[in-house]
Amino acid sequence: MIVSGRKLRVATTSLAGCFGCHMSFLDIDEHLLELVELVEFDRSPLTDIKHCGPCDIGIIEGGVCNAENVHVLREFRKHCKILIALGACAVTGGLPAQRNHLDVGQCLQEVYHTCIGVESLPGGQVPNDPELPLLLDKVHPIHEVVRVDYFIPGCPPSGEAIWKFLTDLIAGHTPRLSHPILRFD
């Protein structure tokens, strides 16, 4: 995807993720120098820009677990020509989705009221500050909420996989991941 005369604009974010995928992204090491020749960053933990503007590529780490995640994800979809799900949580819901067969109310009670070590805390309560985004009853992979163009599985995907994928994409090839760099773990 060559865009003549300017660098590609890339936005990244972490929804219900652990930032591990972003760390792995930084693991491309010296390729970062090549990358910044080709791209510039819009909203991203790397720039601290708060809202996503028009971009060529949006990269999403993490699944969707609360209302804010839904808004951010829709903002990315709206502004990015190409949207990429990066990592197991964005692709499958991942570890946070392991709560999906449980009742979210009971989960909160367990975590803040009844589990060992918390049950005796005085005045312990489920946080309900209006600033806090509302939890969804289930955690979803991002393709269940918006259209997603590409998926890079892995927990996290290796720097090598991310680099291979991005260079394919930027060069205008169909990005391809196969054994041994395609991994789900």
Binding site: A85, A88, V91, T92, G93, G94, L95, A97, Q98, N100, H101, K138, H140, P141, H143, E144, V148, Y150, F151, I152, P153, C155, R176, L177, S178, H179, P180, L182, R183, F184, D185
Partner: protein, 237 residues
């Protein structure tokens, strides 16, 4: 002229003996056809359909279909591999497959096939079924979340161990694996870690306790070579 019988697999002649299935003959001739519920020690089961091939315009399960003289079989084509990928995606969303926290990762045939067929996402919406684990047995854990209903454990326990410990019950999305004990718990059976049934699950349901990641990720069955290569090396052994 010799009286050897042949069929064509992706345009290449494959010799077979009467009574062999397409999959058996292909394997013997060194050609890999993906499979999950099929196992060389058991009769064909025909449930996973990963071994799907096209013969004369029709889709058939190569693990169950007898080879016939002159057949033209399509297997390693974009169309067949696309269908296999869709079948894998359905298997992934029907259960709870969180590979990063699964002890079987790297040794799992479902995952290895997904790698081999370059399945990058599950595509469909996940069901996230509720399937509690059974940790009652001292030596073996059952994590039903990952069961693909191949019945290899059912068959091994019944036909080889002579114990009949596992069964499938219910239908459709409610189908699940049960333990044949009044309590439903594995601890209340005579199941042993040395049973064939304890060592046959292609995915991460029947797990030996205290093994975990003793063999680290990176040194597992399908880490160095893809399943299409590993499976054919097993034939040579």
């Amino acid at each position: 002229m010799s009286d050897t019988k042949k069929f064509l697999l992706d345009g290449k002649p494959v010799v077979f003996q009467d009574g062999q299935t397409i999959l058996e003959a292909a394997r013997q001739a060194g050609h890999y056809i993906p499979h999950l519920c099929w196992h060389p020690d058991f009769p064909a089961h025909g449930s996973c359909k990963l071994c799907i091939v096209k013969v004369g315009g029709r889709h058939v399960s190569s693990c169950a279909m007898p080879a016939k003289e002159g057949m033209e079989v399509e297997s390693n084509t974009p169309e067949m591999n696309g269908e296999r990928r869709a079948l894998l995606q359905m298997l992934f969303v029907e259960g709870n497959h969180f590979c990063p926290s699964c002890e079987k990762s790297g040794n799992c045939q479902l995952q290895a096939l997904a790698y081999d067929l370059e399945m990058l996402s599950a595509h469909f919406n996940h069901f996230y079924p509720n399937r509690p684990v059974d940790a009652s047995h001292p030596d073996v854990l059952l994590d039903f979340n990952r069961c693909i209903f191949c019945e290899l454990c059912v068959r091994a326990s019944r036909d080889i161990d002579g114990k009949n410990i596992f069964a499938l019950t219910d239908r459709g999305i409610h189908k699940h694996l049960v333990v044949n004990a009044e309590s439903g718990r594995l601890a209340d059976t005579d199941f042993a870690a040395s049973d064939r049934a304890a060592n046959i699950c292609p995915v991460g349901v029947i797990l030996h306790k205290r093994q975990g990641f003793a063999r680290p990720i990176g040194e597992r069955d399908y880490d160095a070579k893809p399943i299409s290569v590993v499976a054919m090396e097993e034939v040579e052994k």
